[in-house]
């Protein structure tokens, strides 16, 4: 038996009085109150890919939710307190990992319901070059958000996320395990098919003639061998004369033929790109929902446009 160290008799009496002051407790519990085991699993997600995976795998057994407004990138969204109350009450919270949705780091969420769907491939996350670090005096330098997070653009990683979602659902509802496993396998098969297709497109791409309008395509570039520089242009904004000047200089030095965009760029932007010999290709990362289009259809449409552009050439 362990010994009580370092206390006096008076201390013991004081502790006893302290305990007495704490008065009576509620009925005994051995563990954290279990959540309801019946009804659909309420699953909150941090982006559209995970919401789509949850809905596909869970079917009627899961209510998959992404409360971020449609016109906001969920990666940079800051939920309202009432949104967080929803996340707190969820049966499962699906996280994307890789520093995606920084708000999670500032929020009070139950640890027991969070599922990091990137846990299986942490070693494959891409560190961002050039992220600013700072320190206070002699402390070690610290960088904020230093990992690329659109991991699902590597469809092989997306398939791993889908498997993780299926396993989390099966753990939460063991009686439905076979349903979840079948649905998960179908989804993974779809993702692998798209992955193979993108690999073929990547194999057909031979030179460094791609540009990326935004630094969100790192996993697409890495997985499918689509090399090229990233700019920081927004589809709904004119980049300004300085950026156009730099692009013109780059074109003179090393001409690019295509530029991937998150959404359709402004007509004026398309015209000026055409003058520089650059064809814009919309490749939506699909971080948020697009009305009337499911996420996999969106990704297939991305692949269609990319394939049409590269193979046409």
């Amino acid at each position: 038996m362990r010994r009580i160290g370092g206390h006096s008799l008076s201390g013991a009496m004081g502790a006893l009085l302290l305990a007495a002051s704490a008065c009576t407790e509620a009925t005994p519990v051995a563990r954290v109150e279990p959540r309801a085991k019946t009804g659909p699993l309420v699953v909150y997600t941090v982006n559209e890919p995970l919401r789509y995976f949850a809905a596909r795998i869970g079917g009627p057994h899961v209510e998959a939710l992404l409360p971020a407004p449609d016109d906001v990138d969920p990666a940079f969204w800051l939920p309202e307190p009432e949104d967080l109350v929803g996340y707190q009450g969820a049966d499962l919270i699906l996280r994307s990992g890789g520093g995606y949705a920084r708000w999670i780091g500032f929020a009070s969420l139950p640890r027991s319901t969070q599922v990091d769907t990137s846990a299986g491939y942490r070693d494959r996350l891409i560190a961002l070059r050039g992220s600013v670090t700072h320190s206070h005096g002699p402390q070690a330098a610290q960088s904020h958000g230093d990992t690329a997070f659109t991991t699902w653009l590597d469809l092989e990683l997306a398939a791993q996320q889908a498997r993780a979602v299926g396993e989390a659902f099966a753990d939460a509802r063991p009686l439905l395990r076979s349903d979840f496993e079948i649905a998960s396998a179908k989804l993974v098969s779809d993702l692998e098919r798209l992955d193979e297709r993108l690999l073929e497109i990547g194999a057909a791409y031979e030179d460094e003639s791609l540009l990326f309008s935004h630094p969100v395509y790192q996993y697409l570039q890495q997985r499918y061998g689509l090399g090229g520089d990233s700019l920081h242009w927004e589809p709904d904004q004119d980049p300004g004369p300085d950026e156009w000047g730099r692009l013109a200089e780059r074109q003179a030095r090393s001409p690019a033929r295509w530029m991937l965009w998150e959404a359709e760029p402004l007509p004026e932007t398309q015209r000026r790109l055409g003058e520089l010999g650059i064809t814009p290709i919309v490749f939506s990362p699909g971080g948020n929902a697009v009305e009337g289009v499911d996420w996999l259809a969106l990704m297939n449409a991305n692949a269609d446009r990319l394939e049409a552009a590269i193979r046409r050439d």
């Binding site: 206390h7 013991a12 006893l16 002051s21 307190p81 670090t133």
Partner: protein, 393 residues
């Protein structure tokens, strides 16, 4: 009423001063040892109840009692912290769920408890008004803390520095009260609950400040080399976390090294509990795992030992008091010799006279014992509340 009893009662009423003293002496002599027993038994029950509801506790090696009292009642000095990696270690075993606790700071005299939402679920702490904490910098008050501080959701509460001499160290954090818990009649009622990340900010392990890459922040920059910026002490740190500045908050250490005072380990079943305890048996283990109930039982053993000495002392005093009472009655009979002779001369038999005297004794002892029983009942009903009100408030 029979004659002897009537005469005895008239005598006791007539000599009411002496009667009251004798009754009180009998009452207190009976009540003190029994009442103490009741109080100790009641306190022991309360003490073990909270310990029983905490299956396992993990903390740094040292005094088990300090660890238990700190984690269960938040009122003693916190033990040496363990790193967050110990929380992950428990989770990784798959045998138990870890609920971290970070204590040590106070606000308005009430302990601040940094934890996760699982703690509120596990202790079945229901929100009476407002909501649970959702963001860094928000707090939820125990029922008694809210009452004593006069706060409600929407108000602000400032944490106290760890020590008044820590002028160069940790700045107070202004927290937003977002909820008040329903009374639980436990130590949780006195606490101020925050997310554990908020507790780390309070400890100076995390902070928020303006973007050092901003040209306006140049006065706070010591050096700038490429992508690396070194700030000086002039950098303005936020002492309140708002929606506008929350994204500037960060920690200059990996989470696995951040401190935790203790962790509740909630095993899945009895087998998991035993297996988990076995994981901490290595001789070079720097962390201890313990069953709060065992520690409390040892504490109670100590208390019972103390109690038995006290009861023995009280028994001696009671014996002396009893002897004194007997002496008082004997002297009283001696002083009442002429009164007894008068009763005999007017026709009272020896038996009747003896009955009068015995009735006096019986009435005094009976009334004294009734009062002692009443006091014991009151103690068992209101003992805890009385201690709370008069000793600890």
């Amino acid at each position: 009423m029979s004659g002897p009893l009537y005469v005895a009662s008239r005598y006791l009423v007539h000599h009411r001063g002496k009667t009251i003293i004798l009754v009180l002496a009998v009452a207190l002599t009976g009540f003190v040892p029994v009442g103490l027993q009741v109080l100790v038994a009641q306190s022991a029950r309360e003490l073990t109840a909270r310990a029983d509801r905490t299956p396992l506790l993990v903390g740094s090696r040292g005094s088990p009692l300090e660890l238990v009292l700190s984690a269960l009642y938040f009122d003693t000095d916190p033990p040496v912290p363990i790193p967050w990696s110990e929380i992950e270690r428990i989770d990784d075993t798959g045998l138990a769920q870890a609920v971290p606790l970070q204590v040590g700071f106070r606000a308005g005299g009430h302990p601040i408890v940094g934890t996760t939402l699982e703690y509120l679920d596990y202790r079945r702490l229901r929100v009476a008004t407002g909501r649970r904490m959702a963001w860094l910098g928000e707090c939820v008050l125990g029922a008694r803390a809210a009452r004593e501080l006069g706060l409600e959701p929407g108000d602000d509460l400032v944490s106290s520095p760890e020590t008044v001499f820590d002028l160069a160290g940790v700045y107070p954090l202004k927290m937003r009260v977002v909820g008040v818990l329903a009374p639980s009649h436990t130590a949780d009622d006195r606490a101020v609950f925050v997310d554990i990340k908020t507790a780390w900010v309070m400890a100076g392990l995390g902070h928020g400040h303006r973007d050092l890459g901003d040209p306006d922040a140049s006065a706070a920059v010591l050096s700038r080399a490429g992508d690396r910026i070194v700030a000086n002490a002039a950098v303005l740190e936020y002492n309140q976390i708002t929606r506008e500045n929350i994204e500037s908050f960060h920690f200059h250490a990996g989470r696995s090294s951040l401190p935790v005072s203790a962790a509740l380990a909630l095993p899945t079943d009895e087998r998991a509990r035993v297996l988990l305890m076995g994981r901490y048996e290595a001789p070079d283990e720097r962390v201890q795992i313990l069953r709060p109930r065992s520690v409390m039982d040892e504490l109670l053993d100590t208390v019972v030992t103390v109690q038995s000495y006290v009861v023995a002392g009280i028994a001696l005093v009671a014996a002396a008091t009893g002897a004194t009472i007997v002496l008082v009655f004997m002297l009283s009979i001696r002083l009442r010799r002429r009164e007894i002779e008068t009763m005999t001369k007017i026709g009272g038999s020896r038996g009747s006279v003896a009955a009068v005297l015995i009735s006096e004794v019986v009435v005094v002892v009976a009334v004294g014992l009734v009062i002692a029983a009443g006091l014991t009942l009151v103690t068992s009903r209101f003992g805890s509340a009385a201690i709370r009100a008069f000793l600890l408030s």
